[in-house]
């Protein structure tokens, strides 16, 4: 552990690394030269042997994904880089691109070579105006250097990279929605199969990979699969960039071997802020069930986190301390899912919306004891019942918070307000019980009245 040397973030201290010059001076594009001297299949085998698993959330083995791409179908093959990063609490892709864009570009080129693709799209989150610009500059430099374009670095391989900007929709990070969006449609997920590997962008075989996943690739080619596999834990190889935020002393991205215990990561971020006690944390963004203090020794790898009852997701720890209201945090996450649900599947569209209303009334002091069961029941009707995992993600914070903090939900309901709020007056002022303002959602519901859609939309 102690001898771990940063891999993916090694250049972060060097502001020059964003330029072609700076990147090449620190060994950049050596892996591409090496890969072009290998057969495409040998590149796929090397990535397979490294044990690299996708970092976008699902943890699918990357080399295996590439090997699924059928060749000679008469259709072009596409590679799509998923730079839509929008999972709450996750910010590793952004910093990887802002500080070392060529690492991603090089990884994407090697991937394209391996699967015999001639056009790569980098689907960039719309709000990433600056990171997208950093990326466009890097792509421009790669063209100038002959790493992109016709017959790259003297080979007979042609490749273009197109940076495409999204327009503000979390769901477009989901792979099938991303492809729909890239085809100029609403970003709504599609039923799989067919999987994108067989029928993806423009119904052609398509690889979709996360930014961090592809950023690992040059290192695997450069230093070998064995070296990569020796880092991290058995079934989660390699280094990983963990995003740690919320109530910690030093929020930020911290690189560590996959499988580093949550406790050590928390220490890397300086521990819980102001010496407070940890209340709960998400291991992988808001879509992964909360864990609590007793789970701090869990190795942060795909299998161990799952065994602990959650998911590794995007390796994003959102940390709440003892003074933070869990109901309030879950309410805000649920509002996020309600806002971002694409509306295609009824359980997700309706479930997220109504769960938010119910959580809202609990947090604002109008809850009823049955509401807790109602939330769990809503969750049961959403889980695994939609085309994509957004609905499942929405259930995670609700269910896990009830599991660990049911007493806090009950206390809200008993007291008739949130016991954690310092701005209680604000909430009470907006409440009909205290004769507050009109026109909202929760506050137009007198005690004991059923929620009514027409009333809420007023």
């Amino acid at each position: 552990m102690a001898e771990f040397e940063p891999v993916l973030t090694a250049r972060w201290g060097n502001p020059d690394a964003v330029t072609m010059d700076g990147y090449e001076k620190t060994g950049g594009y050596a892996a591409l030269h090496k890969a072009l001297g290998m057969t495409p299949d040998a590149v796929i085998d090397e990535v397979k042997a490294s044990g690299l698993r996708g970092r976008g959330g699902a943890g699918f083995p990357t080399g295996t994904k590439w090997s699924f791409i059928p060749q000679n179908t008469g259709k072009p093959v596409y590679v799509t880089v998923n730079f839509d990063e929008s999972e709450p609490g996750t910010f590793n892709n952004r910093e990887l691109v802002e500080r070392d864009p060529h690492q991603l570009v090089e990884g994407a080129i090697i991937c394209a070579y391996a699967v015999r693709c001639h056009t790569v799209f980098i689907y960039t989150r719309g709000e990433f105006v600056w990171p997208g610009t950093v990326l466009e500059r890097a792509v421009g430099e790669a063209y100038e250097k002959g790493y992109l374009g016709r017959r790259i670095v003297g080979s007979d391989f042609d490749l273009d990279i197109v940076v495409h900007r999204g327009a503000g929709a979390y769901i477009c990070g989901e792979e099938t929605a991303l492809l729909e969006s890239l085809e100029g449609r609403r970003g709504q997920p599609k039923l799989r199969p067919p999987f994108p590997a067989v029928e993806g962008l423009y119904r052609s075989p398509t690889v979709i990979n996360n930014v961090e996943t592809l950023s690992c690739v040059p290192h695997i080619i450069d230093r070998g699969a064995q070296w990569f596999a020796s880092i991290g834990s058995e079934k989660s190889a390699g280094p990983g960039v963990f995003s740690i935020s919320g109530k910690v002393e030093r929020p930020g991205n911290h690189e560590a071997p996959m499988g580093t215990p949550a406790r050590e990561l928390l220490e890397m971020a300086g521990g819980v802020r102001d010496g407070k006690r940890l209340k709960a944390f998400t291991p992988g963004g808001s879509s992964t069930p909360f864990l609590v203090e007793e789970h701090l020794d869990t190795p942060m790898d795909f299998d161990s986190v799952q065994a602990a009852g959650s998911l590794l997701g995007t390796k994003a720890m959102i940390v709440l301390d003892e003074r933070d209201c869990i109901v309030d945090a879950v309410l805000r996450f649920t509002q996020f899912y309600a806002h971002e649900s694409c509306g295609k599947c009824t359980p997700c569209r309706e479930g997220t919306w109504w769960a938010a209303r119910v959580l809202e009334r609990i947090e604002r002091g109008h809850g009823r004891m049955e509401d807790i069961d109602l939330l769990q029941d809503t969750g049961r009707n959403m889980l695994f019942k939609a085309f994509c995992a957004l609905a499942d993600g929405a259930v995670s914070p609700i269910d896990s918070s009830i599991k660990f903090f049911r007493d806090e939900y009950e206390e809200h309901i008993r007291l008739g307000w949130c016991p954690f709020r310092e701005d209680r007056e604000l909430v009470r002022a907006a409440s009909p019980r205290t004769g507050g303002t009109e026109g909202g959602t929760a506050q137009i519901l007198p005690e004991g009245r059923e929620l009514d859609l027409g009333e809420v939309l007023g």
């Binding site: 072009p76 929008s86 999972e87 709450p88 609490g89 910010f91 952004r94 910093e95 802002e98 056009t119 719309g126 709000e127 990433f128 105006v129 600056w130 997208g132 610009t133 466009e136 792509v139 421009g140 063209y143 197109v162 940076v163 495409h164 900007r165 999204g166 327009a167 503000g168 929709a169 890239l182 100029g184 609403r186 970003g187 423009y202 935020s245 109530k247 929020p251 930020g252 991205n253 808001s286 959102i318 709440l320 933070d324 945090a329 309410l331 805000r332 996450f333 509002q335 996020f336 806002h339 971002e340 694409c342 809202e360 604000l426 907006a430 026109g439 909202g440 959602t441 506050q443 007023g458």
Partner: protein, 218 residues
């Protein structure tokens, strides 16, 4: 336009009848040539739909129906098809907007350290109606979801360039100085341009390669 309740008070902004169209064409001949260069980046014309809507936004400052009609013509699809897509994406503004979109993140990693209070303060400072456009035409206020910058919470964005760890005082100064005609520099990416300018970047115009025909463009 969907109306999103304020995450804190649950209040919906009052429903107002807003403009959704303009009387004259949005895309000039020169801009249409740029549109063709954007379209040429993709295997199908339709893939350029969102980029072209950004191009409309870069001309009009928002996306009026007239712009949707023109984009539909350029791509050979119906206005209804364009509208179905335009209404899906929150960064395409379907009503007149301020020159600066002020986005304040209130997702938990930000609200745990003051994001919501910032948003409430901005609402007070900018006044009612600011979720559409302020009376001086300067601002559109948005309550934002996680901007993937939680390491620098609470995050405020001005035309999508991020300001790190913004205090109440900094927010007040920011709004004040923009009103006085000087736009502060973001934590990364320089001084935010107006929404029209940022929309050009989003349309992909800065990322066009010279080989794609810059020379032929006036």
């Amino acid at each position: 336009m969907s109306r999103v309740p304020d995450s804190q008070t649950g209040q919906l902004a009052p429903l107002r009848v807003v403009e959704d169209d303009v009387p004259s064409p949005v895309l000039s001949e020169a801009v249409r040539r740029q549109a063709e260069r954007i379209i040429a980046k993709y295997p199908t014309r339709r893939s350029a739909l969102v980029p072209l809507l950004y191009l409309v936004q870069s001309e009009a400052g928002w996306v009026p129906r007239q712009g949707m009609r023109e984009v539909g013509e350029l791509l050979g699809i119906t206005t209804a098809e364009v509208e179905a897509v335009a209404t899906f994406y929150t960064m395409l503004k379907l009503h007149p907007c301020g020159r600066y979109v002020l986005s304040i993140c209130t997702n938990p990693s930000c609200s745990l350290v003051g994001g919501r209070a910032l948003y409430q303060r901005a609402k007070e400072l900018l006044g009612p109606g600011s979720e559409q456009v302020t009376a001086d035409g300067l601002f559109t206020l948005e309550e934002e979801e996680c901007l993937a910058a939680c390491d620098t919470a609470p995050v405020v964005a001005l035309n999508y360039l991020f300001f790190d760890r913004v205090s109440q005082q900094q927010l007040e100064q920011m709004i004040g100085s923009i009103r006085a005609g000087s736009v502060p520099e973001a934590s990364r990416g320089g001084v935010p341009g107006e929404l029209k300018e940022v929309s050009r970047t989003l349309a992909g115009l800065n990322g066009l390669r010279p080989a794609e025909g810059a020379a032929s463009d006036g």
